[in-house]
Amino acid sequence: MKFAISLLKIAALATTVSAFTSQNSFLGRAVRPAVSTPARSSSNSELCMKYTLVLVRHGESTWNNENKFTGWYDCPLSEKGEGEAREGGRLLKEQGFTFDKAYTSTLKRAIKTLWLCLEELDLMYIPIINNWRLNERHYGGLQGLNKQETVDKHGKDQVLIWRRSYDIPPPPCEESSVHYPGNDPMYRLVANEDLPFTESLKMTEERFLVEWSAILAPEILHGEKLLIAAHGNTLRALVKHLDDISADEICELNIPTGVPLVYELDENLKPIPHPDAIAPLKGRYLGNQAAIKERIGAVAAQTK
C-alpha cells in the first residue's frame, strides 16, 4: 500500500514537474498594478478624459430614528438603514458600476453602508480606507440631545441656526465629555489640534477638503474608480466644492440616505452635468427619481 502511494506521488509529481520547470515560479509575480483607464468622452469636439466618482450617504441610523443629534457619536445603522445600503449596492451592480478603491469615515454607520454596498457589488476585495476627515460634522454640546427637545429648550430659530448655518458651530462639548474625540482611542493617532469640540459646516468642509486635495483627487486623476461612503455634511462639503454651490444654498441641501450619487468628472475634476441631475447638483442619483425628490424634501421636516 505504501509503495502504491509512493508511486502515485511520483506520478503526480512527474505530471506537474514540467509545469514547475517551464515557469519560474507559481508565486504570483507582482506586475505594475493595473489601474482602470478613465473613459474618453467623444461627446465634445475634442476627446476629453472622464472620471467616475460615486458617493453614498450612509443609511438611516438608530439615532436618526430617535431624532437625535449624532455627529461623531458612533451609533449603528437601523434595520431600515441596512436595507437602504443594500439597495444602493444593488442599483450600482445592476447598472454595471465597478470600483478600484473605497473611502469611508471611522464611524460604523458609514462603514456598514459601504460593506453592504460592496457585498451587493461582489467587490468585497477592494481596499477600504477609513479616515476621520470623512466623519460627519461634530455636533459639539448638542451631540446626544433629541432634536425636538432641543427646539423646545432653545427655540426653533436658535436650533435652525446651529443646524443650518454655514459657519456658526453649536456650543462646544466639555473636554471631559464622552463626545470629545480626545477621550476616544479611535482618534489616538490624530493630532490634538485637529480634534474638534464642535464644528460648523464650514469647519467640516475645511478638514474634509484636506483629504480631498491630498488623497482623493490625485487618486481619481490617476484613474482609480472611487466609491465614497460618508455622511450628510461631509458629502455636502464635497458637492459644494465640486458643483460650486453657495454657502447659503448648501445649508439647505438634503442628500437622501443610501442613494448612490454618480458624478462624471472631466480632466479638471469639474462635473459634467447629467440630464437627470437635480439642481443644484450636477451629479445624478440612481433609482426611482420621483421617490428621491420626495425624500430630498423629507429631511427638512425633522425639526418643525
Binding site: 507559481f26 508565486l27 504570483g28 498594478p33 464611524l107 462646544p172
Partner: protein, 283 residues
C-alpha cells in the same frame, strides 16, 4: 460666537496619556497575534474543493464568526490592524469579528498571499465524487500531501487567477495549482514583509484567513514538521491567540493544544471535538 475653551495643561496631559498608550505597547515584551479561520462556506456545505473560488459564508458560517467576535471582545483583546485574503468568506468573517468587537474602524489590508491554497483542476469538484473517480489514496495525496499539488489549470479555465480582475496587478504561472508547500512560499514572505514590521511597531494584529494559509503560518511560527502540519485541523471561526516575544517566537500559552503554542478561545472540549471532525470529509 462661542469661545472654545482649551485648557492647554489638561490637553497636553491628555495627549501625553494617549501617546504613552502607544509607547507602552511598543515597549511591551510580548505581542498579541489573533488568527481566525473563516466560518463554514456554502461550498464547505456542498463538500466541494473550493480553493480560490469566491463562495460566500453559509448561514451557519455567519453565526460561527459572530461568536468569534464576541469571544474576542470578552477576552479584552483589541487588534490595531487586520489582514485578510481577497476571498469574501475570509473578508466577511473579519467584518463580523470587527463588528462584534466594536473595531470596525481599524485599518484592514487585503492580500492574495493570504488566500486559501489554490486547488488547481480540482476546484469546483465534489470531494466524494473525486474520491470515487480517482480513488481515496490519490485524493488523500492531493489533499494532505505537503508538497504534491493537484493537477494544474490553464488560462482557459475560469479558475485561473488571470481570469479574475481582482488579481489584475499580478502575474501567475500559465499552468497554475498549489500545494501546502507553495502556499507557505507566498504566505511567509507576506508575513515577514507586511505583518512583522507592524508587530515590532507594537501593534496587535489580527489575521482572518483560510485553513491552509493559517497552516502555513502556524507551521512557520511553531516550527511544525511537514507531515504533522498536513494533518493539522484548525477549527473554523475560533480565535487562535498567540503571544510572541520580541523575536516573534511564540510564548507557549496555557491551554494550548499541541502542536500549536497558541490557545483557542471558547469551549475547549467542543474545540477538541471539532479538530477531530474535519478529518471525516473524505472517508
Amino acid at each position: 460666537m462661542f469661545a472654545l475653551s482649551r485648557s492647554t495643561v489638561s490637553l497636553a496631559s491628555r495627549a501625553a496619556l494617549r501617546r504613552s498608550f502607544v509607547v507602552s505597547q511598543q515597549a511591551a515584551d510580548k505581542h498579541t497575534l489573533v488568527l481566525v479561520r473563516h466560518g463554514e462556506s456554502t461550498w464547505n456545505l456542498e463538500n466541494k474543493f473550493t480553493g480560490w473560488y469566491d463562495c460566500p459564508l453559509s448561514p451557519k458560517g455567519h453565526e460561527e464568526v459572530k461568536e468569534a467576535g464576541q469571544l474576542l471582545k470578552k477576552e479584552g483583546i483589541k487588534p490595531d490592524i487586520a489582514h485578510t485574503s481577497l476571498l469574501q468568506r475570509a473578508i466577511r468573517t473579519l467584518w463580523h469579528v470587527l463588528e462584534q468587537s466594536e473595531l470596525m474602524w481599524i485599518p484592514v489590508q487585503k492580500a492574495w498571499q493570504l488566500n486559501e491554497r489554490h486547488y488547481g483542476a480540482l476546484q469546483g469538484l465534489d470531494k466524494q465524487e473525486t474520491v470515487d473517480k480517482f480513488g481515496k489514496d490519490q485524493v488523500l495525496v492531493w489533499r494532505r500531501s505537503y508538497d504534491v499539488p493537484p493537477p494544474t489549470v490553464d488560462r482557459s479555465s475560469p479558475h485561473h487567477p488571470d481570469n479574475d480582475p481582482r488579481y489584475a496587478g499580478f502575474e501567475f504561472a500559465d499552468e497554475f495549482t498549489e500545494s501546502l508547500a507553495t502556499t507557505l512560499d507566498r504566505v511567509v514572505p507576506y508575513w515577514n514583509e507586511s505583518i512583522v514590521p507592524q508587530i515590532k511597531d507594537g501593534k496587535t494584529v489580527m489575521i482572518a484567513a483560510h485553513g491552509n494559509s493559517l497552516r502555513a503560518l502556524v507551521k512557520h511560527l511553531d516550527g511544525i514538521d511537514e507531515s504533522t502540519i498536513s494533518e493539522l485541523n484548525i477549527p473554523t471561526g475560533t480565535p487562535l491567540i498567540y503571544e510572541l516575544d520580541d523575536n516573534l517566537k511564540p510564548i507557549p500559552q496555557e491551554g494550548a493544544i499541541a502542536p500549536l503554542q497558541g490557545r483557542y478561545l471558547g469551549d475547549q472540549d467542543a474545540i477538541r471535538a471539532r479538530i477531530e471532525g474535519v478529518k471525516n470529509q473524505t472517508k
